[in-house]
Symmetry: C2
């Protein structure tokens, strides 16, 4: 897998991904259920933030979850065992060169994976080769460029831009969500359909203020503070002002918007 995982592998980051999955699970995954008996590849499962939801929503499917990181796989495995799910097998593998038989999966699922790859088109080609004809691929990605909020703040946008820039330097693309359609189409999938999933937060949706604005999005941006400052992308005062402005959007008169993109394609 090319491209360093920009979010890092720290416990706090792992918690953030869990908070994200807990808050977003319905929005992102409730319409994904694979049939009993189908063999499903979860490409880039990471610490298993999506794996438990995936396995629970498709209890009869046999899920093979791969990741390049043994530590992440161990954590994902623990999570799946704690949830008493029996339909997931973990395999350490590079999704560009996994040693599975060609055309051996009914479905492929990849959530928050392409954003970390320098060559997302090649990744889709590699995953397509593993799919049986008639099989489907499901891709979910966020897009930091979809973020807007009230009160608006240049400093907040500068802080978000740090994450985007660091991810770019690691070979990834934090604004890849808008490209899910063209990427799937260019990879030769048919019947490509993409649906945007906006998380919209105002004070009538208090569970999202904490669950998304604060503990998912703002926590993610806060997580790159030292790296961004050390890299000379921003100074500490500006970054901290941006974080304060993001927290400000979580107050009673604040609003926060972020959009994920979920794409589905078929291999003919």
């Amino acid at each position: 897998m090319s491209g360093q995982y920009v979010h890092g592998y720290h416990p706090r980051e792992s918690q953030r991904l869990n908070d994200q999955a807990g808050t977003l699970a319905d929005l992102l995954h409730s319409d994904t259920a694979f049939p009993p008996g189908s063999r499903v590849l979860e490409a880039g499962c990471g610490v298993g933030a999506q794996t438990v939801t995936l396995a629970r929503n498709s209890p009869g499917a046999r899920i093979v979850s791969i990741d390049i990181s043994a530590a992440s796989l161990a954590e994902a495995n623990a999570k799946v065992r704690a949830a008493r799910l029996k339909n997931v097998e973990f395999v350490r593998a590079d999704l560009f060169a996994a040693s599975f038989e060609a055309e051996s999966f009914d479905h492929v699922f990849a959530c928050f994976v392409l954003e970390h790859l320098a060559r997302p088109a090649e990744a889709l080609a590699a995953l397509k080769a593993l799919l049986k004809p008639g099989g489907t691929i499901t891709v979910i990605e966020g897009d930091h460029g979809s973020t807007f909020f009230h009160p608006d703040s240049d400093a907040a946008r500068d802080a978000i831009a740090c994450q985007v820039e660091l991810q770019r330097r690691s070979g990834g693309n934090a604004m890849i969500g808008r490209q899910v359609y063209p990427l799937l189409a260019a990879a030769g999938f048919d019947d490509v359909q993409v649906s945007p999933r906006m998380i919209y937060v105002d004070s009538s949706r208090s569970h999202l203020i904490d669950g998304f604005t604060r503990k998912t999005f703002t926590a993610m941006i806060e997580g790159v503070r030292e790296t961004a400052i050390n890299a000379g992308i921003i100074d500490a005062a500006r970054f901290d002002a941006g974080i304060r402005a993001l927290h400000r959007t979580a107050e009673d008169d604040g609003v926060f918007c972020y959009t994920f993109f979920k794409g589905l394609g078929t291999k003919s």
Copy 2:
């Protein structure tokens, strides 16, 4: 009504608003239907781009559509007559000082109006005074800051910023959509609920490429070309590069996203 109407009153602009309503009508209005016998105020009907849809979706309601511009009202009236709708009455009035009886309307509807006002909070207070207790207000606004697209383009964002800046200079706010919730809440409406309505365009949605990306959004930005250049906000080459980049997003691998916000509140 404070604030000059930044889009202007030209025939081409009027066509754009119709294209917009034709394309967006379902997305924005399909869940708005007022009961038979109810008296509904449409505040700021303009050339009637929404009035026909509004009247058609609520055939038993008596709609009073007001605007400050006699020319716009005449055009709106012609449109409603052409559609053979009988349930709309047009009244020339300033929504800040309309001479209707207090608490005489069951519902208020305002679409793409607050964005043009320097004092949107006062407008909501004035409209609230016209509502019967138990009545509702429906507010729909766009937000230019919600715009993103693929391929991304700094020039396109600069061209869009011209529209935002001109609207600001006219006393309006082209990014007011995100504020629908806090504005309604601050005006003292209860049970405020806001739902974002994203127009998402990729090449699988070809009717929207023409109907929204080109003829609604890009046409709107193109419409401020001379004004923006004459005001010294941008030079012609940069603006034209931005417009080309917006048209580029309408090609096969392009994607375009824009979000409207629809809010509903009740007067207790």
